[in-house]
Amino acid sequence: MIDRQGLAKLVAADIPAGAFVNLGIGLPTEVADHLAPDSGVVLHTENGMLGMGPQARGGDVDRDLINAGKVPVTELPGASYFHHADSFAMMRGGHLDVCVLGAYQVSARGDLANWHSGAPDAIPAVGGAMDLAVGAKQVFVMMNLLTRDGKPKLLPECTYPLTGLRCVTRVYTDLATFLITGGGVVVRDLHGIEFTDLQNLLDVPLEQELS
């Protein structure tokens, strides 16, 4: 089992050099801290920027320069700004190489549920989640494999309201990394758990990656 930082490091290592990447709010944001400085990875924030730098501190804070989580950030050389329609055209048009998102649930065929708890009294709020889900060439999910009360979050079918259909390509969890393929769910890495124990936790049939 690996911790949040370990997971963020794993995801960062899988992002190709020079890729254009959108990191979702929360845990995915921490992936940025583990990207090699010379990786040439360019971060997109859906509120209208490519070339986003680290969080701004002290005198660098500028109320006009924030990320999608509304946290003050900085600008790297080669950055660009654009308006919201252009920014989401970039996402929807499939131009981002990778988008990393958190999730409540992922189904075996890559359906994503990450915007709505399903609670009837919740005030719904979707933001850019659905746009991110459909847009990027690859959608990586980062999450714990089990809920706090031990229920699996990788399921045959999502029970929470969906964010997008068949969009997730990889799931990084504390216990294992999964590839969602057209054919089935493939376990790529085990994080200190045996394959059979992992299979016993899930109702989804798993395959082991051929190496």
Partner: protein, 218 residues
Amino acid sequence: MIVHETALEAVADTPDGATVLIGGFGPAGEPVELIEALLDSGAKGLTVVSNNAGSGETGIAALIREDRVAKVVCSYPRQADSRHFDDAYRAGRVELDLVPQGNLAERIRAGGAGIGAFFTPTGYGTMLAEGKETRVIGGKGYVLEYPITGDVALVKAHRADARGNLVYRKTGRNFGPVMAAAATTTVVQVEEFGDIDPEHVVTPCIYVNRIVHIGRAA
């Protein structure tokens, strides 16, 4: 394009029941002074189209607190300290039309661009597409979405030139350019006046009706 002396003067004629497009994403590009002036104008029964539904006691939150808003069209009403929206929504005093952020931006763009409707993949197969027309094109599912236009747009820009061309600052650009193009009357608060290189103009003056100089928050 008319330069107004005060924000109130620029929005005073907003009628009850108007649809108001309000720029900004969080604090960036939020036209705070224009929203305050809209509150002072007394207009009520408003439909507010904006990414968020306000937080704290200022801006859209104040409009909702003072019961001026009948409906909010937005992508993310829930924020840290969005209690005025939360209270009004739970009490049934404000209607919510929840739109995925990219569909919101594209629908506003379509409003300004004269597009009658468009098929977007975002939201396909989700509860936000329930009741909407869908179509599979080239093997991919799409939802038909319609344009959004406003009677008024409230936008914050960085600089205007003498004709009313605009540039923005950093991520403060966000919804400003598409909202400016989608409203009958576009009201802009700017931090400064000055020349703009024609190559650098973001919002051409044709989309700008009224400008107020507010200056830059310290």
